[in-house]
Amino acid sequence: MKKQFAWLLAAMMAVLVVGCASQKGPAEQALAGAQSALSAVADQAQKYVPDQYQAVQAQITSAQDAFNKGDYKGVLAAVPAITAAISSLKDAAAAKAADAEAALSKAKDAWSSVSTDVPKMVEAIQSRVDMLSKSHHLPANVSKDTLSSAKSGLDSLKSTWNDATAAATSGDYTGAMAKAQAVKDKAAEIMKSLGMSS
């Protein structure tokens, strides 16, 4: 009886081992497929949805650990969820990329307008500052302090405008527009202080 039980146990162990071994190939294949799918979207995902990318990467690492421990069944059970997560990651990255592209296009258009506008504002202010600097007396609505502040503000405008132009030249139209808007706001403020706007 004891012998028979030992044989039965050995047979069951053999079936289990063979069964597990038969899952190794599919598990390896499924894991490789998931890794390959993640690699295909890695660049865009890391750029636009880095947190979501890290989460999927962690899922794959976990499945790889399971594989290394021989838990092929666990790997096969985990892969469908990983595949779904990669699909979701791909969609999210593509949507963010499209948003970024649209924002860039909008900033480019805005830059096209502002890049002719702002130099004219600066030119008009420079002209008025030059005139007031020649004047022996200032008009009633402009004090010496106001003129002095306008002069330093003008220098600051030119510097920020140079930064904006450099950003646009390097392709950073969003950054360029942020700086250009700051220049426009400051220019409008100086023009008002010099009585140039009604």
Binding site: K120, A124, Q126, S127, R128, M131, L132, S135, P139, M196
Partner: protein, 65 residues
């Protein structure tokens, strides 16, 4: 004529002023610059509409550089 070469030409941000009855370029220079002696700068910026600094007329729109 150098009028189109002045910074004020074609610049939408250059201030403008509509001449009123009794105005002279000196008075306008006094108003905007605090110094009537700078009237000539206004004349120079407006040579497209002014031929003589002593002849300005109500309703004329002048650029104030």
């Amino acid at each position: 004529m150098a009028d189109d070469k002045t910074p004020a030409a074609d610049n939408p941000y250059t201030q403008t002023y509509v001449v009123q009855s009794g105005d002279t370029l000196s008075k306008i220079a006094q108003k905007f610059y605090g110094d009537p002696a700078l009237y000539h700068q206004i004349f120079q910026a407006n040579q497209d509409v002014l031929k003589d600094p002593n002849k300005i007329f109500p309703g004329q729109k002048l650029k104030i550089p």
